[in-house]
């Protein structure tokens, strides 16, 4: 299996001198299409830092980020923005959605940005897959936390990215709903051949994942 997304020898330091914080130390990571990967670690261990570097939102102090074999650092800012838009679906811990757009409009916005007509059937199909057909015209403030998280997943999938990065997508959910969201992510990875990376600190969720990385004080280790 070839890696869709690979990070090699990543180091990230914040600040310098004796106030310097090393958030990542020689981190190596890869994920292939159809794989559901979990990154688990305590608070402050560098999980979000890792995801933002993978998404091209931050540049590493050293190391390489390869997306489909192309190194991100060699790209222009514009190219990185396009890369983020086209290749990466980001699911944030919360507030993923735009408050003044209803569920369908969140998806329409993606098409507007890509300058193509609204893909109605695709939208309906994805909403149905995540049990959101009833909520198609609801605004984010009318949805439950779990529904909002599922809309964020639909939104991330809608643009057909090669990689989905999810930063604690279940943090605001109770256990049954967390399991529901994680099961759906696993299904998306396996059915639609997506590379999905999920950050979590909930041990119970990792049983659904194909690969687990553990991170502690910026040091990343792959679990067998």
């Amino acid at each position: 299996m070839t890696a869709v997304l690979a990070l090699k020898q990543i180091n990230k330091e914040f600040g310098h001198g004796h106030t310097a914080v090393t958030a990542l130390k020689d981190a190596n990571f890869e994920v292939a299409a159809g794989q559901f990967v979990a990154i688990i670690g305590p608070s402050g261990s560098g999980k979000s830092t890792f995801l933002t570097i993978a998404a091209g939102l931050q540049t590493p102090t050293s190391g390489q980020v390869l997306l489909n074999g192309t190194e991100l650092a060699t790209q222009t800012e514009k190219a990185r923005l396009d890369y983020r838009f086209n290749e990466i679906g980001f699911i944030l811990q919360s507030s993923n959605l735009i408050p003044f757009l209803n569920v369908t409009e969140q998806l329409k916005l993606v098409d507007k940005m890509a300058k193509r007509p609204f893909q109605k059937e695709r939208a309906q199909k994805l909403l149905a897959e995540l049990a959101l057909s009833e909520e198609a015209t609801a605004y984010p403030n009318e949805l439950s936390g779990g529904e909002r998280q599922r809309v964020a997943i639909v939104r991330a999938l809608y643009n057909d990215p090669s990689v989905i990065l999810a930063d604690e997508p279940t943090a605001s959910l109770d256990t049954p709903r967390s399991i529901d969201v994680v099961e759906r992510l696993a299904k998306e990875a396996h059915q639609h051949n997506k590379a999905i990376v999920m950050v979590t600190h909930d041990q119970r969720l990792i049983s659904h994942c194909d690969v687990v990385y553990r991170i502690e004080d910026g040091v990343m280790t792959r679990q067998a």
């Binding site: 998404a55 939102l57 003044f100 605004y139």
Partner: protein
């Protein structure tokens, strides 16, 4: 576009309030402009009707018509398509029994002078002691055939004609010939070319030779600017209008900036999703342009309606090219105001959305 308009529709109150503020500003701009035009028109309407390009006054008159004294005979120094003598008197027009009294600007020229207005009823001046009046004076009760006095003397003249309303120095005009005006003023000389007048107006005029006979040439624009009070009034009103453009810019700028600060997290989320600064700015621009257009259009509508019901004593003139220009200036203020948030938007770090 999409983002900007959707947000406005969702946050109607917030955005209608700002549209309302812009409406009030544009209303004040248009009202001030209309009043400034009305005032300007009141001062110069008669002059504009002449369609003349040059004025000749006594060189010691400080470029002021009423302070200038020249002789009819001085016309010999001027050549041009059309040259007409001009004498004025700001005074009271009264009927012989003082039944009506009105402050007017009396203007005298030669009977066939090119600045003599076209008659709409009655006839043009064809004999001694005749005068013609602005239509607005007819509304004040003056009639054809009436004998009237001008100023404070006992001499009278007869109203023989009426022409389309015109004003000069904010007073309705009456026209007569030079000899009649001099007689009504009780001047010592009331015939021949040694009569005193105030100056000459001409179309494409020029001096015939290097001896100007004590005359000074003014362009019409300079002459109008030198009308007593004219430039001061216009400067005051126009300065207020220009300040309002700056205020509109500041209001949009501050409002958009505050909104941008409030929406940093949202903009961070957009950036995470690959929707960049360009699109966010486009949304801000769409919003401020939409608000400005709404405010300007309603402001124009109210101005036009108010102009209909404005009392006749309040001179108000809508000049569409000028109003169009001011609308564009307000729009430009809105665009610049929105662009002031550019740096803030550009500097929003998408990482803040991740925490």
């Amino acid at each position: 576009m999409y983002l900007g308009l959707k947000e406005m529709r969702h946050e109607k109150l917030r955005y209608s309030l700002l549209s309302g503020v812009l409406l009030l500003i544009s209303l004040v701009v248009f009202m001030l402009a209309g009043l400034a035009n009305g005032l300007s028109n009141g001062n110069r309407e008669a002059i504009d009707n002449w369609q003349a390009s040059d004025v000749y006054l006594n060189q010691n008159a400080n470029e002021t018509l009423s302070a200038s004294q020249v002789k009819l005979a001085d016309q010999k120094y001027i050549k041009g398509n059309q040259v007409a003598p001009l004498a004025t008197l700001s005074g009271t027009l009264r009927t012989t029994k003082n039944a009506h009294k009105t402050n007017v600007s009396a203007l005298a020229t030669s009977r066939k002078g090119f600045i003599m207005p076209k008659i709409t009823s009655g006839h043009r001046i064809n004999g001694k002691n005749q005068l013609i009046i602005s239509a607005s004076l007819k509304a004040d009760g003056y009639k054809l055939g009436q004998r009237v006095r001008l100023g404070t003397t006992k001499k009278t003249a007869k109203i023989v004609g009426i022409y389309a309303s015109s004003t000069y120095m904010i007073a309705p005009t009456v026209y007569t010939d030079v000899a009649t005006l001099n007689r009504l003023k009780d001047m010592p000389v009331t015939s021949g070319d040694q009569q005193t007048i105030n100056g000459f107006v001409a179309k494409n005029g020029a001096f015939k030779q290097s001896n100007h006979g004590g005359l000074q040439h003014l362009t019409m624009a300079t002459f109008i600017n030198k009308l007593p009070g004219y430039s001061a009034e216009q400067l005051t009103l126009n300065t207020m209008i220009y300040f309002l453009f700056a205020i509109a810019l500041a209001i949009i700028g501050i409002f958009m900036f505050v909104l941008t600060l409030q929406k940093q997290a949202l903009f961070g989320v957009l950036k995470v999703q690959g929707i960049g600064t360009k699109h966010i700015l486009a949304a801000l621009l769409t919003q401020s342009i939409a608000m400005a257009v709404i405010g300007i259009v309603i402001g124009l509508g109210i101005t036009v309606s108010l102009a209909q019901i404005m009392p006749a004593g309040l001179p108000f003139v809508i000049n569409w090219p000028q109003f169009g220009g001011y609308s564009l200036a307000l729009l430009a203020a809105a665009v610049i105001g929105a662009l002031l948030s550019w740096r803030t938007v550009a500097n929003i770090d998408p990482a803040i959305a991740i925490g």
